[in-house]
Point group: C2
Chain length 250, copies 2
DNA sequence: CGTATGATTGAGCCTACTCAACTATTGTGG
DNA sequence: CCACAATAGTTGAGTAGGCTCAATCATACG
């Protein structure tokens, strides 16, 4: 396997064998790049939905505006993620996309998936699977964000981010940078910035977490999992039904 | 096109041309049937995830139990829906499935998708698209259920159900049967049965809806759309990027 | 040093929840 | 056919948790 610097190939090869043909198909998805600055609006709901994006670097988030003026952050994206699966079905964007930090996106057209669907059923199945997993994670997130206590909501969010970062960075332990404002966090878990602040202070006093500069340290990860009923959806992946050869990996 | 009695074929042919080969592939997914009674538990979270289901008749819903003893209804399923896309990624179920009414399910194995992925890219793209749309609808639902007022939540739910029923029943107007208890409804939109009752009474007094026996009538659909910021995700489907021939239909 | 952004803390309020009683409806067995 | 039980829906009273509004503190940057 050519050890390219592609996040996408790196991420997908976690799950299934990729031969050279596969890698060439995937490399096409990353052929163009777009640099973005901190807090840049990439697209808005209602814009034509022509491209998907592969995240090369930086943090991004998808959000919608609420009728009452509020904001609802649906999903946070990290390097290696594909942005826009959910938009595949429509001609127009259903959410807005914004960068949280500076970073780099690789846009590719919907039609670039043609070739993959036609010639690479294994990758197709894998993309399908990743989309399915994303859906479950979104359900989990919104379950936490809509029906649990503030502490549990924040615990869930922190665990989710930590698990996600660990996929592409296996050296990561329990400390990571969190480049989101408390307002961003609140819009993600359905709280005001005020409640986020109060709750984080409280969690820190209880020794559940620690904050150092912009970093977060998860001190009692088991306890955090317990209070938020967190399931790591990256641990139970099933690739056994794929056509062709496949790894049975996490 | 053979006018079979398959809900699945009926639903999918709304979106793209299906030739005989396609229909045969799809018919395989409905070859076995399982009758279920009212309020029957079909599977539970943690069960092995071996089958998907196609809904032939009846109402079903997917739900999870919350740590505090509550219940969270994630998705309501109607005839023609495929249940379990989100489970494709895992070896075990992540949610529970229960029938709301008596009905009939057609279980098929994950591996039955093999043949489709290998030989029918158009159907693959279509399934992908439907999964993507489901994801957007779930996001919409949970956005409403977590961040809006009770009236807006219920307005959203009623509109969502009405739009969904209209897909397979084009004769339906603004009146439909709602075979869910107020507790079920509350667990779907994040309210207690008490709040559901109060809010429905209020909406009825304001002339927004009417209830006759177990039926609901949407009297001021525009107003309901307005207060819940409802978007009909069935109206903007994009099949233009599919490989092969395709209709550009709703 | 001054400004802007973000985080923290306090006070009061309001909405949806809890608890509880009561009514309506449905189904079942004597 | 009626009486009873079980389930579902309605209504009232009181509570509490997270929101709003507002002031203050912290940090970064020009």
């Amino acid at each position: 396997m050519s050890n390219s610097n592609s996040c996408l190939i790196a991420k997908l090869s976690h799950y299934t064998e990729l031969d050279d043909t596969h890698e060439q198909l995937l490399a096409k998805l990353e052929k163009s790049e777009r640099q973005v600055t901190e807090r840049e609006e990439i697209y808005a709901g209602g814009d034509p939905m022509t491209h998907l994006f592969c995240v090369k670097s930086g943090w991004f988030y998808g959000y919608t505006n609420l009728p009452d003026g509020g904001r609802h952050v649906v999903r946070i994206y990290h390097p290696g993620d594909i942005i826009g699966f959910s938009g595949l079905a429509f001609r127009h964007q259903s959410i807005n996309l914004r960068s949280a930090t500076e970073g780099c996106l690789c846009p590719f057209e919907k039609k670039d998936l043609h070739q993959i669907l036609l010639t690479a059923p294994t990758i197709t199945a894998l993309l399908f699977t990743l989309a399915a997993r994303e859906q479950v994670i979104i359900i989990d997130t919104l379950r936490a964000a809509s029906r649990m206590r503030p502490r549990a909501r924040l615990a869930f969010l922190l665990l989710d981010i930590a698990c996600r970062l660990r996929i592409t960075n296996s050296t990561m332990t329990n400390r990571f940078r969190l480049p989101l404002t408390q307002t961003d966090i609140g819009d993600t878990v359905g709280l005001t910035n005020v409640s986020v602040s109060r709750t984080l202070v409280e969690m820190e006093q209880q020794g559940l977490i620690q904050r150092i500069n912009g970093d977060v340290v998860l001190l009692q990860e088991d306890e955090l999992r317990s209070i938020s009923d967190f399931h790591d959806r990256h641990a139970d992946m099933d690739t056994s039904w794929f056509p062709g050869t496949s790894k049975d990996s996490n």
